[in-house]
């Protein structure tokens, strides 16, 4: 674990030399033109489909950058909110091996998700990682992660040139980049930030088709291969299906299907969350939700051909879905009875859950509350049973004593059914706080889903704190001042050093998080998500 992190740090140091570099001249940036003029954008074929008015709207989120050869644009595992379009030059996309597929999937939570790290994981620090054997690229040894932007054979690279787009899937879905991008020659790149990327997709069918085609080419097929629904299907069938499915992008609150209206296919959630509601009396109840990998429309299409939506399905955030048409679904079920059974099972589970929510309104209230409070996103949520908590604040003091005197959370937050859902970091599935960090100081710690901030890289820009929807990142005055050094921007020198700080789950400590360990009443617990929280609530009430 530590070895892998060291490689990354070394790489970062080689590239940046100091924490300010990404804002300065040492990062390989030759020229940067922010908010380019409409005339300048019109010179680039990427923007052919957009009129002047649209280009004016896009301009604030677009920059033109010229990079030196050998510049690392982003690393494997980085979260970026930028897509790149190559105007001139070439870029290599390769796996640097920071995360092996098994390491990426390695669970760090135990059954109760209260202990964050296994001793076995710590032992990895002492043992050098075995060198992977070189294999010929085959579907079997192709490195594929659900987060994959590029379907890369292990230890191989893809060279992109003029007219190619990359980084867009990670940017759109909030997934980490699963490959490293490095310029091979001097490159002129159009860098498109997420808001512009979304507008461009909405406005131009050609651009949407281009991005979708890239997704189909680089990611869709391997994703479909590992989709549980299609387990056991032969490759030729999946390949043909990959060519036929629709890729659907939804804005927050966009309705995918309205209760009572005809259902137009089976949807699989690629990213984001989908909320399912049903009409009850004059109002609506939240009956379930679908996370990444969830299927929607199964019950509707299984019960009758061209059935109607049983629920109203709406996207909670910017979501990406795959739609399989009814006829393709029927082909699938005719050819593979196992897939049919799996679909039935998923449909029955969903109907059961919905029924439960209708019978017991508190279940619906719980789901609604969980959606609001971000519990669906969380991998490790600190909750406190207020029936037992003596308000002694030992949890906060324990946290402070473990982290050099500064606590990384306060015993404050939202109350639900007598439980306090604290604002300690939830270590989200899709951590938006990682997006846009100029130095990569906030990152996955390479241990499960833990998100950490590396103080040596933080420049106190507050981007992560502003991005976090749950106020889990606080700016902390370290009591020191920025040094009077040439490496530090002049305006910052001598000013108070205020850095971002947040919970890191005490991931290096095999004894677990200090907050839980320090609670004398045993009422502070870490829950691994909404289902676990529901169990805790049920047990204690």
């Amino acid at each position: 674990m530590k070895n892998a992190m060291k490689d990354t740090d070394q790489l970062k140091l080689d590239q940046y030399r100091d924490r300010w570099s990404s804002l300065g001249e040492m990062s390989g940036l030759v020229a940067l033109s922010e908010q380019p003029s409409v005339a300048k954008l019109k010179e680039i074929d990427l923007f052919d489909d957009y009129d002047n008015k649209m280009l004016e709207k896009l301009s604030p989120d677009i920059s033109l950058a010229t990079w030196e050869p050998g510049t690392v644009l982003f690393e494997e595992g980085a979260y970026i909110d930028v897509a790149f379009y190559v105007v001139k030059g070439s870029v290599d996309i390769y796996l640097q091996g920071r995360r092996s597929p098994s390491a990426a999937a390695a669970p760090i939570f135990d059954q109760n998700r209260t202990m964050m790290i296994q001793t076995a994981d710590l032992d990895l620090e002492k043992k050098p990682a075995p060198k992977p054997e070189k294999k010929k690229p085959t579907p079997q040894n192709t490195i594929f992660l659900s987060t994959m932007d590029f379907n890369l054979p292990a230890e191989d690279a893809v060279r992109l040139g003029s007219g190619d787009v990359f980084g867009e899937i990670g940017a759109m879905s909030g997934w980490p980049q699963s490959a490293t991008a490095k310029t091979v020659t001097k490159c002129l790149l159009v860098q498109i930030r997420l808001p512009a990327l979304r507008k461009m997709r909405q406005k131009s069918k050609a651009f949407k088709n281009k991005v979708d085609a890239i997704y189909r080419e680089r990611s869709l097929l391997p994703q479909l291969r590992v989709t549980p629904l299609l387990t056991g299907c032969d490759d030729a069938f999946i390949e043909s299906l990959a060519g036929k499915v629709d890729l659907v992008s939804c804005d927050p609150d966009q309705v995918i299907g309205a209760e009572g209206e005809p259902c137009d296919g089976l949807y699989i959630v690629r990213s984001g969350f989908v909320k399912l509601t049903q009409k009850v009396g004059e109002g609506e109840l939240v009956v379930s939700y679908l996370p990444k990998g969830g299927t929607l429309g199964a019950a509707e299409l299984l019960l009758e051909a061209g059935g109607s939506w049983i629920y109203t399905a709406a996207s909670m955030e910017n979501s990406e879905l795959i739609r399989i048409s009814e006829s393709d679904l029927r082909d699938l079920m005719a050819k593979y009875p196992a897939a049919r059974s799996r679909l039935w099972q998923a449909a029955v589970d969903l109907v059961k859950e919905a029924g439960g929510s209708r019978r017991d309104v508190s279940q619906s209230e719980f789901l609604e509350s969980a959606l609001e409070k971000g519990l669906l996103q969380g991998n490790s949520i600190l909750v406190i049973d207020l029936d037992v908590c003596t308000r002694c604040d030992d949890c906060v003091r324990g946290c402070a004593q473990t982290h050099g005197g500064t606590p990384r959370f306060l015993r404050e937050g939202d109350k639900y059914k007598g439980f306090l859902i604290t604002r300690a970091c939830n270590h989200c599935n899709d951590p938006v706080c990682l997006v846009g960090c100029p130095t990569g100081a906030i990152r996955r710690a390479a241990v499960g889903e833990v998100v950490e901030i590396v103080p040596d890289l933080c420049i106190g820009c507050r981007t992560c704190a502003r991005n976090c929807p749950y106020d889990s990142i606080v700016m902390n005055d370290t009591g020191m001042k920025w040094p009077d050094s040439a490496a530090v921007p002049e305006a910052k020198r001598g000013t108070p050093q205020v850095l971002a700080t947040k919970c890191d789950l005490c991931y290096t400590d095999p004894a677990g998080p200090a907050c839980v360990r320090s609670c004398p009443q045993g009422c502070a617990v870490r829950v691994g998500g909404v289902d676990e929280f529901r169990k805790v609530v049920a047990r204690e009430t």
């Binding site: 207020l386 029936d387 037992v388 908590c389 003596t390 308000r391 002694c392 604040d393 030992d394 003091r397 324990g398 004593q401 473990t402 306060l410 015993r411 404050e412 109350k415 059914k417 007598g418 439980f419 306090l420 400590d509 004894a511 200090a514 839980v516 360990r517 320090s518 609670c519 004398p520 009443q521 045993g522 204690e540 009430t541």
Partner: protein, 277 residues
Amino acid sequence: MSRPGTFALKKWVRSPAWMVAFIVGAGITLVALVANAWLGSLDPGNAWGITYGSAAAFFMLAAALYGVRRRLLAVRVGASQKWLLFHVYGGALFMLLVFAHTEFRLPSGGLNLWLWWLSLIVTVSGFIGIFLQRWIPRTLNSALETEVVYERIPELVKEISGRAEELAENCPPAVREHYLNQVRPNIQRPQRRLGYFFDITGGVRGRARDVAVLSRVLSRDDREKLDELERLYRTKLEMDAQYSLQTALRTWLFAHVPVSIALVVVVALHVYVVIKY
């Protein structure tokens, strides 16, 4: 959250295993006492008595270490919860052993008498603490919407008071008068009230009652201002309830900790005297 008015045993006895261990420990002590009475006499100076006394001193010192543990939370010496459980059950066993050591009666001699009374005060204050620690959190959680960190209450009340003052300045005369007479005297600083111990919601409801009457005679806009003022006032009153009960959770320690320290000193003196003379 348990339903108000119900007795949830699991909320009072958090660890049945420790309770069982205590019952076993107490049982062994009582069996030893019966055997002691059967085979010899109850006397602090004989082998039986010295054993009770030594065991009591051991449990007292071990239980007292919890105070040290609380100051060293980052040190990996087991979960705090286990330390507290030992503190509670070990402390209870300590008192039983003290009674055994003193033949279940008041000892003679100034130092011994001090020791006996200090032990009793520490144990009783400990039990009061346990009661408060079980009862107050449930009471706070049963009806209050606001959850607040004790140390932040003065700062938050000041903020609420400022916002209320600002709002009242833009209110019609009737609302402003209500604010000046009813709200302002109670909103400016945190107030502890005994009444919250008897009815956690009563104080809040009672004080906000007049607002409903006033609301009927106002225009829609003014009613909104009044509602906002009332919301601020209710939040402040809930903070008062938190302040009152959380103060009790903190102050009982002043009855427990200093006496405990005195007890440790007197026990050390007692052991020294016994060994020396």
